[in-house]
């Protein structure tokens, strides 16, 4: 869309053009060059949609935020020593333990971001899995097996079938 060296076509504007606009009306095309603010004034977006900004969510939580809401959130993470203030600044956690170190506030934050705070996807099993996790894991593997069969990916289906048998025996 950017046009090197062009100046905005809007009256009394000499800003560099960033938008090359072609309009087609009644089979006739008109070309114009616009700067960012004139393009926006005409309702033409020049920027991609903003990504989810965790810091904004944290700011919105304000006084009810995890740092104030729970005693544990005031403590740094026991594994990486990240504080909630560090997290608030960077929007990035320090290690997997931060999720539990920042307590109930983290669950609230996840609810704000995702509209949910509980995982409903595939289950990863540690060496000694709980029975409930094993059941969820098997459900996921069976869904994967069906998907592989539907896609006629029989090599993958065989791998998944063996994995399911392995887990069924272990359970």
């Amino acid at each position: 869309m950017s046009e090197e060296g062009k100046v905005c076509d809007a009256p009394e504007c000499s800003n560099p053009a960033v938008v090359h606009l072609t309009t087609v009306v009644d089979n006739k095309s008109t070309t114009s060059y616009l700067c960012k603010s004139c393009a926006q004034a005409k309702g033409i977006s020049t920027d991609p949609a903003p990504a989810v900004d965790v810091s904004d969510f944290l700011a919105q939580l304000g006084e009810a935020g995890p740092a104030k809401a729970t005693a544990s959130a005031a403590e740094p993470c026991s594994f990486c020593e990240m504080t909630f203030d560090n997290f608030r600044e960077s929007g990035r956690l320090g290690c997997p333990h931060c999720y539990t170190s920042f307590g109930a506030g983290m669950r609230r934050l996840l609810k704000r971001i995702h509209g949910a705070s509980r995982h409903a996807g595939k289950v990863y099993l540690p060496a000694d899995p709980a029975a409930a996790d094993l059941g969820r894991r098997l459900d996921g593997l069976r869904r994967g097996l069906q998907r592989a069969i539907d896609a006629e990916d029989f090599e993958r289906a065989a791998v998944l079938r063996d994995l399911i048998r392995e887990h069924e025996t272990a359970g």
Binding site: M1, A51, P96, G115, A120
Partner: protein, 366 residues
Amino acid sequence: MTMDDFLAVPDFGLGWLDASGPHADIVLSTRVRLARNLQGHRYLSRASDSDRQTVFRAVARAVDQASLPDDPVLLPLAELRRRTQRILLERRLVSDEIIGRSEPESGAGVAVCPRETLSVMINEEDHLRLQCLMSGLRLVDGWSRVDGLDEELGRHLPLAYHHDFGFLTSCPTNVGTGLRASALLHLPGLVLTKEIDRALNGIAQVGLTTRGLYGEGSKFVGNFFQVSNQTTLGQSEEDLIDHLDRIVATVISKEREARRVLMRDAGAVTEDQVWRAYGLLRYARALTYEELMNLLSGVRLGVSLKVLPSPPVYSLNRMMIFSQTAHLEDAAGCPLSSSERRAHRAEYVRRALRDESAHGTSDPGP
């Protein structure tokens, strides 16, 4: 294969360009990625050099032991020349973040299965970013392949997982499934008929997000829009994929409808614009990348509408990749100033279009 000669493999990591997938005239590519981390290790923001090296070695060992569909090539990014790092970026195999502003962080790497278009970034924002990149709209297939890779690596690596929160990630916007699936769509019909803002608003209202060609923070160029899921927690991977698949299918049908309207109500103007775009590409002596992308957009539309008999979509896809800065400098064998880049880009495109003519599809000019 060593890291020195991987670029000698034709189209290394570029299987997704072949335009073989469904709706490839509108959907350039489908990408499905999973964010994963290792238990007991700090994320990049808190990790020391030694932490990063430990993670790199653990992942390298797992990649070596895992049974993968294709022999992976493991590339420690810091050992590659800057231009080679940028070539990987331009081929969408690594991110801006992992190659850094001036150099990659210690322990940063990428493992690529060249034929299967599967890859794993190591020590990016998360310890592992698993990716499958395919031609056309193939979200279910892409998910199935990256899921297979995840299963294999998960057998050899202790992943950070919580029974309530799912897969734990550096940024809470990725936690749960760690899944970000996207389709890169070429939507000139909706742009020209001024329906694009309505379409983008509709996409946002159903919980999806739209980005530019190069993902988060990138601009909309050449009428390309990347549509992806926004949330990762609370729904299964299949539900997230299915929702995105259905919405993208709707956007494709709206785009096809817009193209029909364009040809019906402004056929002569559209045809003229398409031919002008082709003519400029065929004869210009200097092109900026954005100018090239806009002209390629016109030609791509013309090929899809059968206004132009050639070049094939595959060749247009290749031109997008090989006319980027690092690829041009690699072909020239030296750094290029911005005016030299514009000239080399125009020359590359002229030659590519001339070669197309020489390979049977004669110059489409009347």
